[in-house]
């Protein structure tokens, strides 16, 4: 499979504190990747650095063969990267439908509004209410849904199941599977191990700002011990 995203020796800083210490990873077209790791090891930071939000960074990021390090923040979406942040980023002064329509369409091939409403009937019902009046699960759906319209090729999700009831987690799992079948490439950070293991093709394990190991879903049983140690659970 063609490599869609490649990260090499990525370092990142928040002001004075050095958070990423040389992250290496690779995501192939159509793959679903999950990054695992304890709280605070730099998973979110990795995603934020790839999308360009964290700008004090060094190393190499290339997407679809082109260098992303110098691309301005507002151009990353147009290159085909969509981001669903950890805090979801639903805008409280916008209604659900405004939230949904907010991200500009950057390429063809995205879902239509009708398709999205079909996929998420709750959003249709609540389309006129303010974004933050939604339940946590609905907010998460909204955060995913609004990216689907835009036609991006790589969907980056930061802990999409955080704080959600199991039934919603299940639903989101189904959505992600559907997207995967449609050929979307997905990069996921997840603490919910069970959830992750159901949808991921490959795992990266992160600690202290680095990828400490990498394995396909098939090797999961052998790796359980390491996971226990590193994840501290």
């Amino acid at each position: 499979m063609a490599t869609l995203l490649e990260v090499q020796g990525l370092n990142a800083w928040y002001g004075e504190s050095h958070v990423l210490h040389g992250v290496d990873m690779r995501v192939a077209e159509g793959e679903t990747i999950t990054i695992l790791g304890r709280n605070g090891v730099g998973k979110t930071t990795t995603l934020r650095t790839i999308t360009g939000i964290v700008r004090s960074r060094k190393g190499k990021i290339s997407f679809d063969g082109s260098d992303m390090m110098q691309v301005p923040l507002h151009k990353t979406a147009h290159r085909g990267i969509g981001f669903v942040p950890e805090e979801r980023g639903i805008f409280s002064t916008l209604t659900v439908s405004e939230n949904l329509l907010l991200p500009p369409v950057v390429a063809g091939g995205g879902m239509t509004l009708d398709e999205i409403y079909e996929l998420f009937p709750n959003l249709y019902e609540r389309r006129a209410s303010p974004g933050t009046k939604l339940s946590g699960g609905e907010q998460q759906m909204l955060a995913i849904a609004r990216i689907l319209r835009t036609g991006v090729r790589l969907l980056i999700l930061d802990e999409p199941t955080e704080g959600l009831a199991p039934v919603i987690v299940q639903r989101i799992g189904e959505v992600l599977k559907t997207l995967k079948e449609r050929g979307m490439t997905i990069l996921l950070v997840e603490q919910n191990f069970r959830f992750a293991s159901r949808i991921a093709d490959r795992f990266y394990l992160m600690d202290h700002g680095q990828m400490v190991s990498e394995f396909p879903v098939g090797e999961l049983p052998q790796r359980m011990d390491t996971l226990h140690k590193v994840l501290g659970v």
Partner: protein, 260 residues
């Protein structure tokens, strides 16, 4: 004066307690009907997923935020309407989730600033700085107790993340608080600092109450006698670590490892 009035009485077992604590942000309820009792001479952990409302609870208890409803009592005194600096003077002191040192002061000065108030050296604008030298001894003791003596004259901003957290704890201890609230004291610390801080906390809690937010579950398991699990602003489970960690709901909501 409230403090001294209390001290003459028999020490209450529950030093800090909240009843029906609630906080709304606009339409959003971050903390809902939380009852919490923090006991003297113990370490109490507050855990829960991100955004559960742990920091908000801290802000409410220390009065950095005003509760929408509910009451808070500190050693028998109702502090629901007390301003935060007064609460601190009454002996309830907190640390912050994002490291809270005075970045451009030296390590020693960081601790001395905390010592100034209890030693009545904070409002004198006519005395030279050398007036503060008599705090040095105590400050150095505190630094030694957390292993920061070597960095005494460093600028705080130059310390590593973990060392900053350690410094913050030293500053907090300088106030000789009755109740200590620590927001993720181990976050971002190297393993060696985690050990140091764990033992400091255990030490401190011999004659004080400590309430801490912590994601490092092995620390929680090791040093915390009580655990309260918060989820979406509500208490999900309570008890000691063993009980709580067996709770299925906690495993689903927080620990997320139902598989073994």
């Amino acid at each position: 004066m409230a403090v001294s009035a209390i001290e003459t009485q028999e020490k209450p077992r529950v030093v800090l307690s909240a009843r029906g604590l609630r906080r709304d942000f606009g339409g959003f309820t971050a903390v809902k009907d939380v009852d919490l009792d923090v006991h003297d001479a113990s370490v109490h952990a507050l855990i829960g997923p991100n955004g559960a409302g742990k920091t908000t609870v801290f802000n409410l208890l220390t009065k950095f935020l005003q509760p929408t409803s509910g009451t808070i009592t500190l050693m028998g005194v109702d502090i629901t309407k007390t301003p935060p600096d007064k609460v601190a003077r009454m002996g309830l002191v907190r640390s912050f989730q994002i490291s809270a040192v005075f970045p451009h002061l030296t390590v020693l000065d960081n601790v001395r600033v905390a010592l100034q108030r209890p030693n009545n050296l904070s409002t004198q604008f006519w005395r030279p700085l050398s007036a503060l030298d008599r705090l040095n001894e105590r400050a150095e003791q505190l630094l030694a107790s957390v292993g920061l003596s070597k960095e005494r004259d460093h600028i705080a901003a130059d310390l590593s993340y973990g060392r900053k957290r350690v410094l913050e704890i030293a500053t907090t201890l300088a106030l000789d608080p009755k109740v200590l609230l620590l927001d993720e004291p181990m976050a971002g610390m190297g393993q060696e600092d985690v050990g140091v801080v764990s033992s400091i906390i255990r030490e401190v809690a011999r004659d004080r109450a400590v309430l801490m937010v912590e994601h490092n579950l092995s620390v929680v398991a090791n040093i915390c006698q009580h655990v309260t699990v918060l989820q979406r602003g509500e208490i999900l489970a309570e008890g000691d670590y063993a009980t709580v960690s067996q709770d299925e709901r906690v495993r689903v909501a927080y620990m997320g490892t139902e598989e073994h």
